[in-house]
Symmetry: C2
Subunit: 338 residues, 2 copies
């Protein structure tokens, strides 16, 4: 039987958590006590967000490799920091899991999470483990940002241009393939499977946007464009028009190069771009007068203008010159199961 | 069917989360965006801790009133801040729950958590809801502390006196009664049931200890004295002797006045004081030369000296002049079920 101490040891061996002499000025007390202590530098704010990752809801135990589960649990929380233009620093993990997952599965999970933590230069500073019938993780991420400006969802104004990074719908395609073909699809190294298992938070673009003061509003796309756009519009008290032809869809099977697929496939691709979840790309809005400052690529990631905010508070999709309402059909955390 | 937005609305209506003009300097951005933003004042550190509260592990859906579940989920996380001498400020909540708990149960849960938040003067600044077969909450609490000193588990030295606040074992007695008598025990208003359902984090004593620099080490008693003392001793690299006769046991049925019970009952009471979990009292150590500065009561809560730290790294219980090893038999999060 594994004990709590054994589980904590397995996690901290593989996830960066040690506070060296160099870091002690910023983290006077790390993991292992009742709480951790972090010290702010003047002129900087803390940016804090929390996310859960639950077996049967956010991942499937029989399909998803534990390494990817550990990576993604942290990466999706970090995506919220990217959307604020913040730089990741620390995280806390509560992990509930069954006895049968406390051995090799846990080691692989910790390796994946440790890899993500190194990639994002983050340190685990606190946590809590308990037993449960299935795996349930909750992660709180802490980042820093210069005092002004932080990117919010609220600042969009009518006339602002809407942009997205990367391609939309790739993660959804990856999930569909994984569901259809099972674990053998993992060996195929398809772009869409990679996008589903190892999303890359757009930290560099988020920082750039916050630093340059170009964007009026921003958020990350976790639940699908149609649902997340409705949230940004509600927060900014505006509407929007999205141009179907402009969407950077493409399942990415050809590494992001757009295809000319037959009609049925094209419609499925459009639906995935509009409603597919878990792309963890950024969506942001830019006042028209600043639009020329937005590059077409940033560190190799395409940035695409897909529409405009409007004063009329409706969300519309324009196809071949005709507009129709764009209902929010992305991921609804509480309604469906995965 | 409840939606995510409906659940978030129910929570934020009952739990303080609105950032008024007065608070905006400290919390430039509260709940509702991708992340929250908090601003530190110079000379203060942030103290951060996370805890989970899971149905079937930490509470029983058929026994525990949702109001108490909401209260206790926050209170036990706050107890970790008390143990550091920090002042609570903000918290984030991830809540996974089944559809059938998303109505009245959720309202009562939110009322209980809202009451706790008001009591501890905390604000909800972030969260995440998702669906699950049973209720699973994870809470991250953020407090502030003056830069020096923060109370840790590490600072205990051989010869230091060991103190505890309040009475030990009352919460365990309350749980036993609740298990035995079912929900009708809730109407009895017994002290031990109150202690089990509504533990009070020792924030004032924690602050006082940190401010006065009296304590060498401190932690909260969440898993039982025998288990938590072993943790403090391991962190401080010392051993300890506990004097059985000195323990402030007492189920508290007579509001904390000690009884002279028959032998069998006395032994059960001793066992609960040593191994009973969830008292959320503080345990702290004080160098002998400062012991005279520790009061016998603080704001009505008794403070009792129960033993000493030793250089020999064993944990012993002294009864009538004889010592024997004191095994860690408190709550082991991963092994047992409640």
């Amino acid at each position: 039987m594994r004990t709590e101490a054994d589980i904590i040891a397995r996690l901290t061996q593989k996830i960066p958590s040690r506070i060296g002499a160099r870091e002690a000025a910023d983290v006077p007390l790390g993991i292992g006590d009742d709480a951790a202590v972090v010290r702010a530098r003047s002129g900087r704010d803390w940016v804090v967000s929390t996310d859960s990752f639950i077996e049967g809801r956010h991942f499937l135990g029989r399909l998803h490799p534990p390494n990817a589960v550990g990576y993604k649990a942290l990466a999706r929380a970090v995506s919220d920091l990217a959307a604020m233009g913040a730089t990741p620093r620390y995280f806390l993990l509560t992990l509930a899991l069954p006895q049968r997952r406390a051995g090799n599965w846990l080691d692989d999970f910790a390796c994946g999470m440790g890899g993500a933590a190194r990639m994002f230069r983050m340190r685990l500073i606190g946590g809590d483990v308990s037993r449960n019938q299935h795996v349930a993780a909750a992660i709180t991420v802490i980042g820093v940002a210069p005092r002004q400006p932080v990117l919010t969802r609220r600042g969009g104004r009518p006339g602002d241009c809407i942009y997205v990074t990367g391609h939309l719908g790739a993660a959804e395609t990856g999930l569909e393939i994984l569901r259809r073909e099972g674990r053998r699809a993992l060996r195929s190294n398809l772009y869409s499977i990679q996008r589903h298992l190892h999303p890359v938070p757009r930290l560099a673009i988020g920082s750039w946007l916050a630093e340059k003061g170009v964007a009026s509003a921003a958020m990350d796309l976790s639940d699908g464009l149609s649902t997340d756009l409705a949230r940004l519009c509600a927060a900014s008290r505006v509407g929007a028009v999205i141009h179907a032809a402009a969407l950077p869809a493409g399942s990415g099977e050809r590494l992001g190069i757009r295809r000319s697929p037959p009609r049925g496939e094209r419609e499925a691709e459009l639906r995935r771009a509009l409603d597919g979840g878990e792309d963890y790309e950024l969506m942001f809005t830019v006042p028209l007068r600043k639009a020329s400052r937005v590059p077409t690529h940033f560190h190799g990631v395409p940035i695409t203008r897909i529409g405009e905010l409007t004063s009329r508070r409706a969300i519309l999709l324009e196809t071949n010159g005709r507009t129709r309402p764009l209902p929010a059909r992305g991921w609804e955390h509480f309604a469906r199961s995965r």
